[in-house]
Amino acid sequence: MSRKFRRRNRSIAGDVTLTLFLGVFGLFSVWPLVFIINNAFKPLNEIFLFPPRLFVQNPTLTNFQDLAIIVGNSWIPLSRYIFNTVFLTAIGTAGTVIIGSMAAFPLAKYVFPGSKLMSRLIVYSLMFNGTVTALPNYVIMSKLQMIDTYWAVVLPAVGSTLGLFLMQNFMVQVPDALIEAAKIDGASEFTIFWKVMMPLSRAAWITLIILSFQALWGATGGSFIYTEKLKPVSYALSQIVNAGVARTGVASAVTLIMLVVPVLVFVISQSKVIQTMATTGIKE
């Protein structure tokens, strides 16, 4: 994209106003993130300072050292909890993206018996609140003997319709001509899915990775996983934090640690979203 191209149809006054607008709202939005980062390095007396200060005065690593001591004494090694989370998140995210996209392609590009019904069910299911379905869900899981396994967290995440609905709405935009051309070349639907649809909806599935990762990373397993060594790290850390006021410093360190990975995933993925299509877009 050339510099000249970007400037088309843009007035300087408009640019200045909009930049100011973005700046003001940006400060407003980024505030909690700055707060969390600063809090993690505050000594206890600064954390309990009221009214709280945003920026740390005497940065310290005490909170992290305290956390290391607590974690070091834990009954089940922290590495096990971390493994659980990484495993859940990786399998769940990969499953959501691949299985969801596979189903999104035919629903977005073809009409065939059952396709309308399926599309409807997907939108409708987004509108039914999860709190009351938790009970029937638990019954189904226990009948399938999935309670207290990773699958109890992974499969419902994969079966959630948000990802499919997102992919479906992006795949609609892929020109039919490209699919026809691939068919003339003798490609099967699977090949078209992998070689045409996925590359052209990259921005969408990268976004889906972010959403899925974020949801699974914070998953505690709730009532579906009860064996201690199968619990994810967010559960273990929340137990540490729940021990009371004495752990307030440690809690702020925990908050930062739990946030670092999703933020990294977010930044890396977002820059990929932006790079993918920066020059092309989708054309007929």
Partner: protein, 294 residues
């Protein structure tokens, strides 16, 4: 049957893995909940069929539910459209920036959504004593003599919840719009310039928005489901139950019956009612969105 399978075999195979998981873990539980909504079910004894009684009770005998509906609708009517527009406007403005700045700004705006329950900071701002930011500020400027009890005063609860929700707006739809903007065919803009498009606003209305119709539809569904199912921020900030039910919503009502009173039949009826409200809103909004860019 066989002919259909033969003609569309590959399509069905592509859908199959998702369909199996989706039907097992989403469709069946939803239907089960709808069935439960016609029963009286306390989770200890077996459900007892009661016909439409839960629905009739809900609409005729439950005054608190009516308050919840009123609050939810007011809340959704304000936050839904504003959040939706904010998501689009910010995505669109960010799209104008250079790639590096853009990646940073996306994180900046998405920060409230990625920081877990960072909205609890609003508790500090609207803390009831003189140390809460809002009170400290009002006292400093002499706008009030005594600290205001924000979450204990009926008239302040809903407006504060609305502000917090707006602050949380830039979530899923925002990311979908950012991704959608990358898909817009750049040559359309050049062609548009030749056709006499003079400024960014015309470009937005005649080129960008029509090119993003699928993403706009997606965002609308997200916004409808999100703004009508507010509960957590209400329970965390305004408490549960909130003062004179000022922050009571359909979902907090559901929470009350589902997890405190264990009346699952009644709770399921609430969920079903909410479902139909969303369905109806969705039909209206989708109709309106068809008129974009024409």
């Amino acid at each position: 049957m066989k002919a259909i399978w033969k003609a569309h075999k590959e399509k069905y195979l592509l859908i199959m893995p998702f369909a199996v998981i989706f039907i097992t873990f989403t469709v069946i539980p939803v239907f089960a909940s709808i069935v439960i909504s016609f029963t009286s079910f306390n989770m200890l004894e077996l459900p007892r069929f009661v016909g439409f009684r839960n629905y009739i009770d809900l609409m005729v005998n439950d005054d608190v539910f009516l308050i919840a509906v009123k609050n939810t609708l007011l809340f959704a009517l304000i936050t839904g459209p504003i959040s939706y527009i904010m998501c689009f406007v910010f995505a669109w403005l960010i799209n104008e920036l250079t790639p590096k700045v853009r990646a940073i700004m996306t994180l900046v705006f998405y920060a409230p959504s990625i920081s877990g329950n960072a909205y609890l900071i609003w508790k500090l701002i609207f803390s009831s004593d003189m140390y809460g930011y809002a009170n400290a500020w009002l006292l400093d400027y002499g706008l009030t003599d005594v600290p205001i009890l924000w979450f204990d005063t009926k008239k302040y609860v809903l407006p504060i919840l609305i502000i917090v929700q707006l602050w949380l707006s830039l979530g899923v739809s925002f990311l979908a719009f950012i991704a959608g903007l990358q898909n817009v065919d750049r040559t359309l803009y050049e062609a548009g310039q030749i056709d006499g498009i003079r400024n960014r606003w015309q470009e937005l209305w005649f080129i960008t928005l029509p090119s993003m119709r699928p993403q706009l539809l997606f965002g609308a569904v997200m916004q409808i489901t999100g703004s009508l199912s507010v509960s957590q921020i209400s329970m965390e900030l305004a408490g549960f139950p909130s003062v004179e039910y000022a922050g009571h919503t359909i979902l907090t009502h559901l929470h009350d019956y589902g997890f405190i009173r264990y009346e699952m039949g009644y709770a399921s009826a609430i969920a079903t009612m909410l479902f139909f409200m969303m369905l109806f809103t969705n039909i209206v909004v989708q109709k309106a969105l068809r008129r974009v860019g024409v």
